[in-house]
């Protein structure tokens, strides 16, 4: 198989938050490696605090001051983003890589018109004149199916419905035709119908613009619906990575297996859910060995001593678990 150069490749990426006096180190992203090709959708799923947002912010190099990228490479279109000066990173953000939040109110400024906000990145990144940026803004609003864009550009966010605001945020994200879109979903679930609209919007944007999409979520249902690949994060690590269908049918990591068992499904009646015992790990005080071992039902002696690396269990499917070492090829 001749693999084309991936759009994005992360190699052993590691990001820590270090407290002011250096006494507390939170290993938020630990030895993350993955590849993403143009047009692919990768779901990054994991519980709260597992490092999903930190991973996204690391890729964009938008980390808060307390964070350190300890090691690793971020290859985007073959270039190492770690070596880019800040000025160039600013150009890449928004233009080549865009990030959107599912809560549209968090990304729209209530004081500016819709037209100004959609036109801004076009002016900043492409140096377009105000007039031509506004013309593009109208086209973009039309592209995300906002009716009467000529009048909408002069309105303010509060005059829009929730669904329209989402589409406007989508229009801003694609305004400079990025190659990669990172969508960070908040932990709280949204209204089913609004969520369905949002997912449809992302899917349309992706299809029409050939974007690669990283969908950050805690919701395996979204992964099942949207993503062709899944990365399962636990304690800052990608503990399992593979094609979605394979992960759902033949998960290799005990955490992934347990996660799949723990979600209620429509039509499964009142069966007791298989809860994962214990608590999510404290990333500043991880247990030795495999970070999942205190909660793992299949824990072995070795798991308490050594942190497993990623093992390939099949083509395109890897798991960070000593059990997978047995099956590894």
């Amino acid at each position: 198989m001749s693999a084309p150069t991936p759009l994005l490749e992360l190699r052993h990426l590691t990001t820590h938050y270090v407290s002011a006096r250096g006494s507390r180190v939170v290993a938020a992203v630990e030895d993350v490696s993955l590849r993403l090709h143009a047009g692919e959708t990768l779901g990054v799923v994991g519980e709260s605090g597992s490092g999903k947002t930190t991973l996204a912010l690391t890729i964009l190099r938008l980390l808060p001051p307390a964070a350190r990228i300890v090691r690793g490479e971020i290859l985007f279109e073959g270039e190492d983003l770690m070596r880019k000066p800040d000025r160039e990173m600013r150009r890449i953000r928004g233009k080549r890589i865009a990030m959107i939040l599912q809560d549209p109110m968090a990304s729209l400024n209530p004081l500016f018109t819709i037209g100004d906000q959609v036109a801004e990145p076009i002016r900043v990144h492409e140096g377009a004149s105000r007039g031509s940026a506004w013309t593009r803004a109208r086209d973009l609003l039309k592209a995300v199916k906002i009716s009467a864009p000529e009048t909408r550009v002069r309105e303010y966010p509060h005059q829009m419905s929730g669904g329209m605001r989402q589409r406007i945020v989508g229009a801003i994200a694609i305004s400079c035709e990025p190659r990669l879109l990172i969508a960070d979903e908040p932990t709280t679930s949204l209204d089913v119908t609004i969520q369905a609209q949002y997912l449809r919007l992302l899917r349309d944007l992706q299809r029409e613009h050939g974007l690669a999409l990283i969908f950050i979520t805690h919701n395996l249902g979204i992964v099942a619906k949207m993503c062709d690949h899944v990365a399962v994060m636990y304690a800052g690590r990608i503990v399992e990575l593979g094609p979605t269908r394979r992960i759902f049918d033949a998960a290799a990591h005990p955490y992934t297996q347990a996660l799949l068992e723990s979600i209620p499904r429509l039509g499964d009646g009142q069966r007791r859910l298989a809860a994962i015992d214990g608590q999510p790990p404290d990333l500043a005080a991880l247990p030795g060995g495999c970070p999942f071992h205190p909660r793992c039902t299949q824990v072995m002696d070795r798991c308490r001593a050594d942190d497993p690396p990623a093992f390939d269990v099949a083509d395109d499917h890897a798991a960070r678990c000593w059990l997978a070492a047995r099956d590894a090829r």
Partner: protein
């Protein structure tokens, strides 16, 4: 006799219709809603954002007074209870809300937050308070050292667990759960849902359970009520409603639920338009402007809840049809 019965509950909120206008419009947040909550059972409430779920919950909690209608607790009209009766009612009915930030005092340590209802309501020795606080922390999956920390030191998911522990402190008889697990980690949701069901079985707790996650509602509830614009459009056995929804709105809602496996792609019923404002609800059937089955009479006559297939549904499609025809519908 049901534990709690609501009969024709109405809640209108006055609103200023224009910035300088003196005309006062009104939002019909809840508009003639009836239901019963049985001892040890769960009534699930679902529906789009703004349909009146939280307002219904607040009426039950007596955080809002109804504009019209009656709530009976063990047969007694709440409006007729004396001070002692009301205090007892408030103790017996506790709540966990959607927003963990609003309910947690940022300047109190977690141990004190959880112990507060115990301290104000029961004369307990400090050691007993500490023991119960420790048990509650453990139940909701927080480490014992959490008691000495402040809310801001926790992730959003962990903060919601603190709120749940606090609500369970007084061992109430009815707990209103307004989006109790939406903000929790996926791996913890099952623990909490199982915990809530265990407590229900052990203590005979009743729940009013509100969530956007339809599978979770179906899983937790004995009866489910579907609301649209302040009205219940369908109410009945949770499994029957989830498996074979009858009202066109319920059908659309459940069709938008996320799949639990990538192969389970549902035919999504895409509703036209947005939810109308409850300031100006449509005449006739409130769902008619978006309903794929709307008929001429739907814009004129408001359908009443009537029996269809062992549940109640408010839709003209089932007017004057034989039970067999309803079965096909």
């Amino acid at each position: 006799m049901a534990l709690l019965e609501a009969e024709d509950l109405v809640k209108h909120f006055p609103v200023q219709s224009g910035l300088f206008s003196r005309d006062r419009g009104r939002v019909s947040a809840v508009d003639g809603v009836s239901f019963a909550i049985e001892r040890s059972q769960t009534l699930g409430l679902v529906g789009e954002s703004g349909c009146g779920k939280s307002t219904t919950a607040k009426l039950v909690l007596k955080l809002e007074e109804p504009t019209a209608g009656v709530i009976r607790w063990e047969g007694r009209n709440l409006a007729e209870l004396d001070g002692a009766g009301l205090r007892e009612y408030r103790r017996s009915v506790q709540a966990v809300f959607q927003d963990p930030y609003a309910s947690l005092n940022p300047r109190m340590r977690v141990g004190a937050i959880i112990a507060e209802p115990l301290v104000t309501n029961e004369r307990l020795e400090a050691s007993e308070v500490a023991r119960r606080t420790g048990r509650l922390l453990d139940l909701v999956g927080l480490p014992a050292r959490a008691r000495d920390l402040f809310p801001h030191e926790f992730s959003g998911g962990q903060r919601q667990r603190i709120a749940i522990a606090r609500a369970l402190a007084l061992e109430p008889r009815l707990v209103v759960l307004d989006e109790p697990v939406s903000a929790l980690d996926v791996s913890i949701r099952a623990q909490i849902l199982n915990l809530l069901r265990d407590l229900q079985a052990q203590l005979g707790l009743a729940y009013l359970f509100i969530a956007h996650d339809l599978a979770a509602v179906a899983h937790m509830s004995h009866t489910v009520a579907v609301m649209y614009l302040g009205k219940i459009v369908e109410i009945g056995d949770a499994r029957a409603v989830a498996a074979r929804p009858k009202h066109p709105y319920t059908q659309a809602l459940f069709s938008a639920a996320l799949p639990s496996h990538p192969d389970e792609q549902r035919e999504e019923i895409i509703l036209a338009g947005e939810v109308p404002s409850p300031l100006h609800p449509p005449a006739g059937c409130r769902f008619h402007p978006r309903c794929p089955h709307a008929m001429a009479r739907c814009a004129l006559d408001e359908p009443r809840l009537g029996p269809v297939n062992g549940r109640l549904t408010a839709c003209h499609l089932y007017d004057a049809v034989t039970p067999e025809a309803a079965e096909r519908g």
